[in-house]
Symmetry: C2
Subunit: 499 residues, 2 copies
């Protein structure tokens, strides 16, 4: 990789026109940079020093890849380079950097397989192995749930396995999509979504045991906090919680468990700003079910207005119902509820899935989940910017779930170039063993963004995550003040030699 | 795949707002469609009938893929679905459709491996096998060219092989990138470009034998004509031609051979409009060499002003010199020469390769080859449109040469949505055994474009190829008149039941 050239005026051709050319070119480059996210902000002297360190490492990493395309990590599947990320100095800086909020995460996909294995050490857990898969259930007696084989206590099964390390490794493998041959295991979206959905089927009975659920989300917040994230908006299906005796609670109880966990966490860690809930049931439902869910959303909002952000519909977009089927109901409910719709999480163009972008925008969504297909819609790109609709980008998720292989083709680069209201998030980081937000920031910054984009884009992305959050006016201001204090501390304590 | 929904007004929620919503949505969809390439043109009644047939088949193909994502062809490597393309009725219609011009093709990569094998049956051809590779040379005596093994007459080698079918299959394999395991053979751009460049090393001595060269380009034009292409602009390195006795001709002779071949072809096939030459030497050169080439370009232009279109620099962009190194010389020569620069054929963003887009535009290029990276540059996208710079898009090439795997991620979709001055071309179709233009049109139309884009986009792409050609005013008009006649004939003779 060569550094930027100055045009040399060779005497014979040293024309005024070359000077003019250079000036016009510089102006063009400058104007385009100013269009980009963070491109008009200025760094303080101290920030500039941090930036020098950051960019020296960024250039080294990118330029090594440019000169050695065969080894360029980001052109491969995430699983092929995830173990190397920790070696990156840019990553280490990003990990220490305050990143604001995570606004697009699904509750049951956040903590990784090691955490899940730990859950399986709890008392009263039953297991049933069948057809190369596994089922769990907490109960005070052997479960009645259908299973081809017999249910047994997990503690017994583990004991009888003789080799506990091997046994636990097998259990662990059920709770990660990681594989060292992603090309063969996930040739298309069909296979990646297949494994992805199976994960949720397996984890559901583990985490919906009431005592686990209450602790799980507390630990989610802990993990985000330790990754220098200060605020979270979490999407939840609000699955019914249950007790050992088989008691099943209504969904409202699940929402209340969130409220409890959030309050407990903020009490324990007052430097953490908080969290809100987006009720996000499956999009594979009929109209009566939707109406029931909208009614529930209203009830939750009434019960916990502070902790409730709004409503969404989730699941593989291509395989679920398009928003247009629900317009009358969603339009009506938009008087009471804020929307945070998934839309355009697809490679298809001109299909009903792709059309979800129109409906999300027209239904007044506050943010769009993914919006991967947005660059194919120039008019909608302008609308998103004009209406200030946050775009929740999850690069690693889109790579693992087969929308894009080489992340340099991810549309985030286009969003950044046009200063769209982007926020970075991590979707389901536990399922692909990414950390809660830093890996996504890292891949976005080094793998996707313009080589020249610097600390300003990172800071603006962190700020965007608060600006486009569901926090209300005063709370938003307060959160930004808190963020700025964290940021200043990061800048003031920065020591390049530590990395 | 469901068909487009009408919003049903359910009595209880049948509000004026749903009607308003539907109207606003329809307006938005319409406005966006009108922004797209071909989106403002109207079909005649007869064209509408053709379009109905075309779109019925297009919907069937796309919707089958949508419902069966595991088998969706275009998400795989081109080599995994190329054999199936012939089965497509959309493809068959496109093959019969007049497609205007091919404006981005490299002379030595157009005819496929079967054609090359035929060349190896000519007299006086010597061969040398070394290190799993092969070298050829036409000569009236055993060549002196360095080779680890001995040179022998190809006719003898073939005879001695005992199994000629096997022998020819082996020879053929040297002249195609096709493999049934593209994921393993071409994991990154390094490997695909490696094999791609080796092809050129092998074919060079075969086609630069003067009698072959003169016939080769004649046969190129024949192949384009049989694919319903009426005009070609070909890029050439202008390699030195040679005779059996070792005589080597200057590059100007190669250019003159083009002139001869073009005239002979148009005389033999008066319905073909013609061809022009773009002199396109390697970008891995120094300034003195560049100046020599620019001088040669001027000489060619002087000698054959009708057949000479302009100048370009070629080779893997990431591995070659960026345009900025040559600005003083290219700026000076822009007074005499038209440019058709390759630029932005890269996944990198913010590197010198990516920056070639700035310089191509500022140097006044008439068209840009590939411009794959253009969507990351919003300001340059506007410039391209404002200045009417043709964008030469080669989807299959970009897939085979590792820029993009799932072609639904190809930036062409964005160019089409914004009505950029796109022309479709095929780059080096022979090397990946695609046909000369129809396969590229097919993949672009069914794999990349909006599901709803129809005959209007195909017609406009064909018209663009003449509009953005190097033809001068009167000739351009004449070519378009000729195209329109071909088009009317295609429409008038169209019989849906034939497909």
């Amino acid at each position: 990789m060569r550094s930027v050239y100055l045009l040399l005026c060779i005497p014979a051709v040293c024309l005024a026109s070359v000077r003019e050319y250079s000036e016009e070119r510089a102006k063009m480059v400058r104007n385009e940079a100013r269009l980009s996210l963070g491109g008009r902000s200025e760094l303080t002297d101290k920030e500039s020093a941090v930036n020098d360190c950051l960019m020296r490492h960024k250039f080294r990493e990118i330029d090594y890849g440019f000169d050695n395309p065969r080894y360029y990590n980001f052109s491969h599947h995430f699983f092929e380079y995830m173990r190397d990320i920790e070696l990156s100095k840019v990553y280490r800086i990003i990990r220490d950097m305050p990143k604001g909020a995570a606004l697009h995460v699904h509750d049951m996909g956040i903590l990784g397989p090691d955490y899940v294995v730990n859950i399986t050490y709890m008392d009263h857990l039953y297991v049933c192995f069948q057809d190369g898969d596994v089922k769990f259930k907490f109960s005070n007696k052997s479960p009645k749930d259908i299973c081809a084989n017999k249910w047994e206590l997990m503690s017994n099964a583990r004991k009888l396995s003789r080799n506990i390390t091997e046994f636990d490794a097998k259990i662990r493998a059920y709770f990660t999509m990681y594989t060292d041959d992603p090309g063969a295991v996930y040739p298309t979206i069909k296979e990646s979504w297949g494994v992805f959905l199976k994960y949720f089927g397996r984890i559901l009975p583990l985490v919906t045991y009431r005592p686990v659920w209450e602790q799980y989300f507390y630990d989610v917040l802990k993990q985000f906090r330790s990754d220098n994230v200060m605020y979270v908006e979490v999407r939840s299906l609000l699955p019914n919680l249950y007790e050992l005796d088989g008691t099943v609670f209504p969904m409202l109880v699940t929402a209340m468990a969130y409220k409890k966990a959030i309050h407990r966490f903020v009490r324990d860690y007052p430097d953490f700003y908080g969290a809100k809930l987006i009720f996000a049931p499956s999009r594979r439902i009929d109209i009566p079910k939707l109406e029931e869910y909208l009614q529930l959303a209203r009830a939750i909002k009434e019960d916990m207005p502070e902790e409730f952000a709004g409503f969404d519909l989730v699941g593989q977009e291509d395989a679920g119902k398009p928003l247009i089927e629900f317009v009358p109901q969603l339009l009506e409910a938009s008087k009471d509820l804020d929307y945070f719709f998934h839309a355009g999480e697809t490679n298809w163009y001109g299909t009903l899935t792709d059309d979800n972008l129109y409906d999300a925008i027209l239904l007044g969504t506050k943010r769009i989940g993914h919006a991967y297909a947005l660059p194919k819609h120039p008019l909608l790109m302008d609308e998103v910017k004009k209406r200030g609709i946050g775009i929740e980008v999850n690069v690693i998720s889109n790579a693992v779930l087969s929308l894009v292989r080489d992340v340099r083709n991810h549309p985030l680069s286009i969003f950044l170039a046009r200063d769209l209201p982007v926020v970075l998030s991590s979707d389901d980081p536990g399922i692909w063993e990414a950390d809660s937000l830093s890996d996504d920031f890292y891949v976005a910054f080094v793998g996707v963004a313009n080589r020249l984009e610097d600390l300003r884009v990172l800071k603006q992305l962190a700020l965007n995550s608060l600006m486009y959050s569901a926090l209300s006016g005063a709370a938003k201001t307060e959160a930004i003040v808190k963020f700025n204090a964290q940021w200043d501390q990061f800048i003031n304590n920065f020591d390049c030699s530590r990395y």
